[in-house]
Subunit: 412 residues, 2 copies
């Protein structure tokens, strides 16, 4: 075990916000307050950009009430960035750490952040600067290795489960088709959460399509036709990241000939556009009407968008774990650990119990976890009971749903 070292600590948040990312950094602050080796706790504004520009906020000077309120607030009060540090950035950051006697760095983020921290860590070692670097897991995508699940997922999953609960009941009023497109370019966990709000076997989503398997438009049309024929309606959850067997995004397949918006990395823009839901609705309407499955299909599509990750309704479990994981990270620093990624492991399903552990940064850095096969139905169009057991404890209690007793129909 390394000896302790006196100095300042810096905390920063990276990447897409979640409903509990503030809770994580507040957890780190509360843990660090107990550590007498740490003279100051600074929050970098806008992630590593703030470190390089020396834009810091004094987190010890915030009142306990402010920190408490912030821990309930979605998105990050420390702001964010998607910047990945270049070698020059690393030099700059280490200069800043050296200048201000910063020996502790806590980065809250996804696999990119773990990778960035690992790179800074190596750079510090090369310069023989003693830096203690901790990554605190965060992502609504739930796609980090070594984690049973990540802070942020439970609250986003709660939103998606609730939203599908609502749109399922709405769809029941009129019948027809409803498609909801969920976030998750490579991992289907958030789309899968659409199934967590079902209360009866005929509740939607009746079909769930994940990015883990190739998406076939023909199979999709067949699946929807079968459900619609049986129930007179069909609610579908689709991941924004679905691709065909050649790994061509379905949005691109359906937009043949049209120009598509690309993001700054040259990828087709998936979030912040309603195009995929619209194209899927158009496709199904044409196909099912042409095939005579239904004369005129009432069809609607929504793209759930950014509200999924920022809706102000934390899952209580997610919130508690985010705070605890931040606190755990602070304790690691105090215990003489030098670096690592703070991860959540599951101890038991029923009663649900989780624990925290420190794993090597490299185990998480830059890697993506996807839905395991046992969570996906053999037909690749739904989740399994194993997924429901996995997901239910993470989203907290949902409000009750009452259903009319249709056995009391009047018979003439």
């Amino acid at each position: 075990m390394a000896s302790t070292i006196k100095g300042r600590a810096v905390i920063f948040t990276q990447g897409g916000p979640t409903a509990v990312i503030n809770a994580s950094w507040v957890g780190v602050v509360q843990g660090l307050m107990l550590n007498h080796d740490i003279s100051d706790i600074w929050g970098a504004v806008n992630g590593i950009d703030g470190i390089m520009k020396e834009k810091f906020v004094d987190l010890m000077a915030q009142t306990a009430k402010t920190l408490e309120d912030i821990s309930y607030t979605p998105a990050s009060q420390l702001r964010s960035t998607r910047r990945k540090p270049t070698p020059e950035d690393n030099v700059r950051m280490l200069d800043v750490f050296l200048k201000h006697n910063i020996h502790y760095a806590f980065g809250i983020g996804g696999n990119d952040t773990s990778e960035s921290l690992d790179i800074i860590n190596d750079a510090a070692r090369d310069r023989e600067f003693e830096l203690r670097v901790f990554h605190v897991a965060k992502t609504v995508d739930n796609d980090l290795m070594e984690n049973d699940h990540t802070p942020g997922y439970g609250s986003a999953a709660r939103y998606v489960a609730n939203a599908f609960r609502g749109v399922n009941l709405d769809n029941q009023c009129f019948g027809g088709l409803y498609i909801g497109v969920c976030m998750g370019r490579h991992a289907g966990f958030l789309t899968a959460a659409s199934a967590l709000g079902r209360t009866t076997p005929d509740d939607g989503p009746h079909l769930v399509y994940l990015p883990e398997h190739p998406f076939s438009l023909d199979a999709f049309a067949r699946d929807v036709a079968a459900v619609h024929t049986r129930l007179g309606r069909c609610v579908v959850a689709v991941s924004e990241g679905i691709e065909d067997e050649n790994r061509t995004p379905i949005l691109q397949v359906l937009s043949a000939g049209g120009a598509l918006e690309k993001d700054s990395h040259g990828n087709i823009q998936l979030s912040g556009t309603g195009a995929l839901a619209d194209k899927l609705v158009d496709f199904l309407k044409q196909r099912l009407e042409k095939d005579g499955v239904v004369k005129k299909l009432r069809a609607r599509g929504d793209t759930f968008g950014y509200v999924q990750r920022s809706f102000p309704d934390q899952s209580p479990v997610d919130r508690a774990e985010a705070l605890a994981l931040g606190h755990f990270a602070a304790v690691q620093a105090q215990s003489g650990n030098i670096d690592g990624s703070c991860a959540i492991v599951r101890v038991s399903d029923n009663p649900y119990k989780a624990d925290y552990r420190l794993v090597p940064l490299k185990n998480v850095a830059g890697k993506t976890r996807r839905m395991p096969p046992e969570f996906i139905s053999p037909e690749k169009n739904d989740v399994t009971e194993a997924f429901l057991r996995y997901g239910r404890p993470l989203i907290g209690e949902l409000s009750p749903i009452g259903a009319l007793d249709l056995t009391k129909t009047i018979a003439f």
Copy 2:
């Protein structure tokens, strides 16, 4: 005052669901249970379609627990329809009423429903059939005459306020532009609710565009450029129904040359498509980059879609009023009143207090209430303090938002 009449009662729900439409009809049932003139309470399944097809559920046979749970459940457990009764439909419905000794009809819906009830009422009078007809106001659009506000609006407004609270904090993390498109083809009340979640003067939405006034793309670009220059970011709420000065829908203006989906009435489809948000984002990105306001604009758009009206998170005030208005309707029938529309009036703002009254069906039938001028800013790009005073009591308490104290920035 008319004498009482013994017979059955039928309840039905029409049009787009809300989060509290079930609460309204449960309120009617609970009120009617106390009326000894009423032998049975039947729920028509799928609105007036259920009456014509004699598809009824025995609502007296539902347990108290079932009714209680249903009253918390969004959308309508009685299902719905958008059918407007034809003269033949009226004949058919009166035949059904006559056949089953139904002398009380309660329709929960918007101005179309009030109109339908008024027509049935006239038809009953022509046939000298004693029918007591009550309309119970409902719509997330909040566009009924004679009502201070309508059940369903408070919960949808709560969702929109919360969603904008979240996306505002999300947008704060990275900066750039965010556009959220809200429901409301002719009335801006729901879009206006986006402002109810603001906690500080610089919180988004920074701009709010309503269908009550012509929308100018040039003024829009200027407004956004001004906010973006001041704050480095801009959050915009837009009603799906915005039109230019020639009353051409903006979606159509921006889609010049492209084919647009039309709904069953031949109107351009607004809900259930993400096209307007996408087009507005594309327009602003091009314009602001061309004008040199910003080199590369980070711009995102979401269309909030059906989740707005069905999200399972009732405003407590909305829920209480929906139950009470249904109960009030039942009491009217018991008091010997023959017909009318049950409306909400506001007694006082602070403390908030509402009351209920019966108004003539014709006063509500087929008419649309729009946002009054005093709720819209002189620049037509925001709501006023008067609107905030009006709207705040209707959505219930929102969870607290904590903000970092940036006066504690480290100065070097």
